[in-house]
């Protein structure tokens, strides 16, 4: 099927060229980072994880959300999603690949990455994260590729694939749960020390991932002969609506516990993010935009008129993507580290090289996504004709 990725329109090649160019630019800066150290980023002794780990966390969510199309189709026999499962699975493949690369670029000594395998340490959550992420990548490639190949030859998928498909459902939940456990089990970080971390991760993932999938479906429909379908998009929109509202609900659960209990260790982080601390308030406007925007998007999406109109739906999906990205991408990591364990405030903002390396990884991910979608869409077009 790979041959389908090699023949395309000028626009397809153009897109690949642009993505490859951005990737190359990021790679050059990565070489600089390898040479000079992670000091070229904005990270510090106090805020020791930054943009890279934030992207990783966000993208684990995008990857996990493939389960939102796989589950209704395979467990509830919701036939309509048969058309889009492949798009969900291939989105997961691209997202998990980005996750793995983001972890790698964040390492101080990437040359020693295999120490994680050489000295396996099951007590560390990072060890399990490695296992679930790689497992999920393999599962989605295996399932997506085989199902698509069978579709091409108009035969049902082989029986041996079924157990893997069922396994991929809890596995999707596991990747985001384990990722949440990276943070939620640390004794001295009040912002992260909450049992609702994993549920919050899942709810924001199931809002952001399907939102991205809706936008991708609309793009696929616009630029190819394959239509993912109106019903499919509407079903995804309902998933986004519920998920984002649950996410907002979880956020207010958190706010209640923190501010009603008034325990400073927990409160200070929220104060920094939403009001500023010690006269430092870089993230305040972003955080307010995120929570207000997220709530508004959720409320607007409950209105069937706005949801059914694909233009407003696309705009609202965009808002969900941006606000959940700010919440997880900017707030979650910085907020956990600020103030530091000695209750001092060191702020964090990514540097230009850091942002370009990040952009490079995203370009790599979208390059993979474009190629995989090209294959999937070509097969779908072929089958139709």
């Amino acid at each position: 099927m790979l041959e389908k990725a090699l023949i395309g329109t000028k626009r397809y090649y153009g897109l690949l060229a642009i993505l490859a160019g951005v990737f190359a630019l990021g790679f050059l800066f990565y070489l600089k980072q390898l040479h000079l150290g992670l000091g070229i980023t904005g990270m510090s002794r106090d805020v020791s994880w930054g943009f890279y780990i934030a992207q990783f966390t966000y993208l684990v969510g995008v990857a996990a959300s493939a389960v939102m199309v796989v589950l209704p189709y395979y467990l509830h026999n919701y036939k309509a999603f048969g058309r889009v499962t492949i798009l969900g699975e291939f989105l997961a493949v691209a997202a998990v690949t980005m996750c793995v690369v983001f972890i790698t670029v964040d390492l101080g000594r990437p040359d020693r990455i295999f120490n994680v395998l050489k000295y396996p340490t099951p007590g560390s959550v990072l060890f399990w994260d490695m296992i679930v992420l790689n497992g999920y990548l393999i599962l989605n490639l295996l399932i997506g590729w085989n199902v698509l190949e069978c579709e091409r030859h108009s035969v049902p998928p082989p029986k041996w694939l079924k157990p893997f498909i069922y396994l991929s459902i809890p596995w999707a939940v596991s990747i985001h749960t384990v990722t949440a456990f990276l943070y939620a089990g640390l004794p001295g970080r009040g912002y992260w020390l909450t049992a609702i971390m994993a549920p919050r991760f899942l709810s924001s993932a199931f809002a952001a991932g399907p939102s991205l999938l809706i936008l991708l479906c609309l793009l696929v429909r616009k630029y190819t002969k394959f239509d993912p379908g109106k019903e499919q998009i509407q079903s995804l929109a309902k998933i986004v609506t519920y998920a984002i509202l649950i996410n907002v609900f979880f956020f207010f659960c958190e706010v209640f516990t923190v501010f009603y209990s008034q325990i400073p260790d927990h409160m200070l982080h929220f104060q920094y993010l939403f009001f500023g601390l010690d006269g430092k308030h870089q993230l305040v406007p972003f955080m307010w935009f995120a929570i207000v925007g997220m709530t508004a998007a959720g409320l607007f999406l409950t209105n069937p008129k706005l949801r059914k109109d694909e233009t407003t739906l696309a705009a609202l999906c965009g808002l969900v993507i941006i606000t959940t990205y700010i919440d997880k991408g900017l707030g979650l990591i910085s907020g956990g580290f600020i103030p530091n364990p000695l209750e001092q405030v060191t702020e964090y903002w990514p540097t230009v090289p850091e942002a370009l390396i990040t952009l490079g990884v995203w370009a790599m991910g979208f390059l993979i996504l474009t190629v995989l979608y090209k294959i999937a869409v070509s097969i779908k077009e072929e089958v139709k004709s």
């Binding site: 994680v116 560390s124 004794p187």
Partner: protein, 270 residues
């Protein structure tokens, strides 16, 4: 019993494979000694459980500074805030980000957040508290490390294998005392005077106080203790005749963030 050539090769091949794989797997799963473990000399100072008492009553600012300098000197700790030459000067914010701190001072409300009293005695209010790795009995940094690059020795010291560390910085997120530092850039140009008795570090690894494990192995006390002129007491917590235990009997001491269950082994007399 006859055996043709083909079968002989098959059996020989299989047993070689099994032997190789079996041994390899065994070594991988059950490593004997941790590579970075320091093998003590005969004169080494030994203990069941090392611990430190910081007597803040005896520790004036000048002495505290001496402790810090002694530590920085014998561990080749770089100084980004005051580089050896003007050419290496960094913007203040950047230097602050890169800082490597093994032992340093901070006011009471930073070292003991949550334990602040509204009306502290003035001397305590202005006191500089020495802070360092607490060598917790239940260290979260060791729990989270994915490669056992940071590990706990039998005598309680939380050690760091800088040759195994992958630089993921999970331990820095895990430490509730901010006692760990990362080499954000090459530290070597920022070392004031190279001390040949201790390795310098490369970019990309985490480091911290090790209770001077390398000095204990030579029968020497930790550098800060030596410089503290009695304000720092170091010894075996398991030995009831030790100076540490004597101090704990005599004075009321406090420890940092005990509510987190880390069981820190640095005690403060205030």
């Amino acid at each position: 019993m006859g055996m043709d050539r083909r079968e002989f090769i098959r059996i020989a091949g299989l047993s070689t494979l099994l032997g190789l794989g079996g041994k390899g797997a065994f070594e991988l799963l059950a490593p004997g000694r941790v590579e970075a473990e320091i093998v003590p000399e005969a004169a080494a100072l030994k203990a069941k459980r090392w611990a430190m008492v910081v007597n803040q009553k005896k520790l004036d600012d000048a002495t505290a500074q001496k402790c810090i300098e002694a530590c920085n000197r014998v561990h080749n700790v770089p100084d980004f805030l005051h580089p050896p030459s003007d050419k290496l000067k960094l913007p203040a914010a950047v230097a602050h980000r890169y800082q490597i701190k093994w032992i340093w001072t901070a006011p009471f409300h930073n070292v003991f957040p949550g334990d602040e009293q509204p009306y502290l005695p003035e001397e305590v209010e202005h006191m500089s508290f020495l802070t360092l790795c607490n060598h917790c009995n239940n260290p979260p940094c060791v729990r989270v490390c994915p490669t056992k690059a940071t590990f706990q020795r039998e005598d309680g010291i939380v050690m760091m294998d800088m040759h195994r560390c992958i630089g993921c910085r999970f331990c820095m997120a895990g430490c509730p005392y901010g006692s760990r530092s990362f080499n954000w850039r090459d530290p070597r140009p920022y070392i004031k005077k190279l001390y040949p008795g201790y390795p310098t570090r490369e970019i990309g690894v985490v480091e911290k106080c090790t209770f001077c494990a390398e000095r204990l192995a030579q029968g020497l006390e930790p550098a800060c203790v030596e410089a503290a002129r009695g304000a720092l007491i170091f010894g075996d917590l398991a030995d009831e005749k030790s100076e540490v235990r004597e101090s704990l009997r005599k004075y009321f001491t406090i420890r940092r963030k005990t509510q987190l269950g880390t069981n820190p082994q640095v005690y403060y007399i205030v």
